[in-house]
Symmetry: C4
Subunit: 213 residues, 4 copies
Amino acid sequence: MTDLSRFDVTRYAAAAQSIIDAGRLLYGQGWSPATSSNYSARIDAEHLAITVSGRHKGRLRQEDVMVVDLDGNPVQSHCRSSAETLLHTVVYRQLPTVGAVLHTHSVKATVLSRLIPAGQALTLQGYELQKAFPGYDSHDCSLDIPVFDNTQEIPALAAETEAWLARNPGQPGYLIRGHGLYTWGDTMDDCLRHVEAFEFLLECELEMMRVLR
Amino acid sequence: MTDLSRFDVTRYAAAAQSIIDAGRLLYGQGWSPATSSNYSARIDAEHLAITVSGRHKGRLRQEDVMVVDLDGNPVQSHCRSSAETLLHTVVYRQLPTVGAVLHTHSVKATVLSRLIPAGQALTLQGYELQKAFPGYDSHDCSLDIPVFDNTQEIPALAAETEAWLARNPGQPGYLIRGHGLYTWGDTMDDCLRHVEAFEFLLECELEMMRVLR
Amino acid sequence: MTDLSRFDVTRYAAAAQSIIDAGRLLYGQGWSPATSSNYSARIDAEHLAITVSGRHKGRLRQEDVMVVDLDGNPVQSHCRSSAETLLHTVVYRQLPTVGAVLHTHSVKATVLSRLIPAGQALTLQGYELQKAFPGYDSHDCSLDIPVFDNTQEIPALAAETEAWLARNPGQPGYLIRGHGLYTWGDTMDDCLRHVEAFEFLLECELEMMRVLR
Amino acid sequence: MTDLSRFDVTRYAAAAQSIIDAGRLLYGQGWSPATSSNYSARIDAEHLAITVSGRHKGRLRQEDVMVVDLDGNPVQSHCRSSAETLLHTVVYRQLPTVGAVLHTHSVKATVLSRLIPAGQALTLQGYELQKAFPGYDSHDCSLDIPVFDNTQEIPALAAETEAWLARNPGQPGYLIRGHGLYTWGDTMDDCLRHVEAFEFLLECELEMMRVLR
């Protein structure tokens, strides 16, 4: 029986570096302002590296990235991980190939998620850039992005997203109302591509609303 | 009895450097154009470092930051401090833990403050990012940001803000109509986080207006 | 009889470098997000350098640029060129002086191309910047930019654009609905100037729509 | 009698450098895209340095800046100066203290100047940032920015602006419809401050229109 509290430190360091680099990019775009957002990367089947709560995302250092297990418990760390850690662990548990999860916090995601009526998804169709997501090979595909109501009760929201993921294992992300975007990918590069694609598509949708409403 | 005209020069230099660095960030974001804005940082219980009037905020040097006492009088300096110095000293006098005050001048703050009817506050609610302000621990909190009418009579405006602060010591900032934002924090990093959070929230509100009006 | 599979490797390297540099600029502007877009530069009368499918446009390296002939077949390469290679080769075949073709993917081009009614062109008039295109020497000229419907059937779209180019050899570019911009120029610098001019003019048109609709 | 064709070469070099640096800033802001715009700086009472026609404004070099006299004739140069040279010389002739003239070409200036009805000025009032212009010491001042109709007949437009300047020597700039902004200052730094202030105010006005129309 293996000791679940053990992980490869070199893999932790690499995962942490990928998070640090992602933070610099995402903060630079204005998608993680004011210490918002949280990021994670898988270390192995039982562990992930994740940002410590409340850190400036544009200048993360290794000490700002800690390790938690797939239940969200800190491993070899006295730090407190992001309040939304369970929203990350749900994704890694449900989707074994996922290597990175990014939660961002842009103006577009915040506003658009508030403009969509409660209970309704954001439907994307007719955009060539939908092809940035695996399994979507045409602009004609319809992509439904759910919008969960925001709450400070993270375990309850984690359970909601878990049920949704179980029914929709092929979808690339979701929104939380007035809060932001969650997306994931097999590698950190894939995940960053998904953030870019989502931000692009959200801006397109908002721009359409500006003109057409 | 201590000599009130004396301050620790090393603490001045550190405060000035925090102002210089803040200016580079804020100008880079477009929030302090055309020599607008003014910034300060506390040196001690009686002194603060503050920008000299009319300097380019993106390339401040130590010589662009002077010292004033809590009444706004220059200390060991022949320079003229910002015309709005009294709006800074009011905050330091009312809130002893405050270490930095930033006044910025963005398009969003300018326009939004003009779109809000006279006598009405900007009410923020439902945004996860409200949690960037101390004491606001849920998106459900309601945050009322007052909008003071602009005036070139700074002492009168200073008295208005002083009375408001006395009644609302826990609030993180206010707007001046057609002019900009004042916000503060215990450290310069806290204060910069508040600027980022405000700019984000103001942009969200303006974006909602673009679509919904 | 010359061997058509042969090209000057130094000219390939220079063409590839111009593509790498263009990618850094265009990605930096947000016009080629999430591995979208594709770029090419002419090597000689029979060959062009073109981006390999699916690469990150902001950090292209020589290995991300391959060679195809004017029918779109790979030359000395086991890589797969962009899915839209035929949209590039059509331009080089029709316009012998063209040295570079850039396909970009901005929010403005995507949204504006969706807002224009099917079958209608985008008509630009009254903009001084129209003079950035060769042959347009006054803001009074009228410039009709066609909007082709998007499709995953690239050979069909290539045939459509070929027919349009044959009738309109002096026009500087076209849009694909929900997808992006194609433009070209005698040199890469000319082509980048055309991208900048188009993005500017598309943003102007969209801004007019925001206010006037 | 002095030889009017002679100027101090060191002063030319300094003026050219100020133009090069201004170009890097203005292009970086997106206010001089696609080789648009032209810039000048005074060398002495009879000469000015001005950009050569058609150059990329973000990477100007000394060879992209030439000398003309106050009638717009090239001095010691075989290059062709900007087509709009006469719009610069008019300002230097009318306003002897002016040391720099910048013509920029932003989306905001282009769109706003088209949205303002023919024959009407853009009236700015209630903005604290109006104080960035000399002689405007309150947000309550009213600042009327004329909008000249665009034309390719530069001598005619130069005469129009000359007559306007003679009547309004204290005003900081004007717009040309669908084309851009002209502004000036005693030094290049003053002039850059005016560009920043104008761009800010134009964006505010456009933002107000987006929400209120």
